[in-house]
């Protein structure tokens, strides 16, 4: 396979990671909402933890974007 084509294919495959991270971010908020509706009184105090979880899940998706960008522009 041509090296350039392989690079672009790899960048495309890296986009799968971004899609999977979107499932993760959706899970974080869905579970939070589920818990918050069961016990609304405790929900506000847990908002910090919600965003820590969101940041963790999001970072991995952003990393796949970085890999794609590296493959296209730097490799």
């Amino acid at each position: 396979m041509d090296a350039e084509a392989a690079k672009l294919l790899g960048a495309g495959f890296a986009a799968i990671g971004a899609g999977l991270a979107s499932i993760g971010v959706g899970n974080v908020f869905a579970k939070f909402l589920e818990g918050a509706l069961r016990n609304p009184g405790a929900a506000d105090a847990q908002q910090g933890r919600l965003f820590i979880g969101f940041a963790g899940a999001e970072l991995l998706g952003l990393l796949s974007f970085v890999i794609a960008a590296l493959l296209i522009f730097a490799a």
Binding site: A45, G48, F51, I52, A55, L59, L62, F65
Partner: protein, 252 residues
Amino acid sequence: MHQFTIEPLFGSGHWSIAGYNIAFTNSALWMAIATVALFIFVAGGSKRQLVPGRWQMAVETFTGFIDGMLAANVGPNGKKYVPYIFSLFMFILFANVLGLLPIGVFGVHAFTFTSHFSATGVLAVMSFAIVLIVGFAKHKLHFFSLFVPHGTPAMMVVPIFFVELVSFLVRPFSLGLRLFVAMMAGHVLLEVLSSFVIDSGNANIGLFAIAGVPSFILMVGICALELLVAGIQAYVFALLTCVYLNDAENLH
């Protein structure tokens, strides 16, 4: 990607430190604009009226928000970090929002300096340095107990130490990388969508109706999403700094 290029505005000829050119770039200009805007925002709300006006209320909401965040995450010891976290949060927030301003229609090009790793990386290293300095000053070498959580079985101490060490050392990278990639990805997305609108408009009217108009409607939605992301990323950066400071202040 013209919007991400850093161009020297003046001083490219002879301003240098240790052989490196320190020209005043468009990135530096927008950092200065963010600082001035932040200064005006805080100064306008610092009149200390007994019955606060709208402006004072806005500033007090932000300071109260940061104060509450530190109280919840660090505890009573966190009070002394309010100035740092407030500056950090507001600087990033102003930078992100200023970079989204649609002033391109007047021919001025907004530059989002948080879409460069060199800018966000320095902010992240600053937070990490404060964590290290506070941790070692307060707990001396006992700070290393951060890497071995309570109740670790004796067999697992060595592997857990290395896992925790790596997760600790990767913090400044993840902190800077998150902000930089989130801002850059959003701007690239807007640029790609706008190129759909312009290219389909140049091609023919049928293609414009099929591809251009939906892309434009999507762009309006993505712009709103980007405003949300600008706020969330500033919040996450400040929040994670609080969490890391908690490790330094209280170990765990």
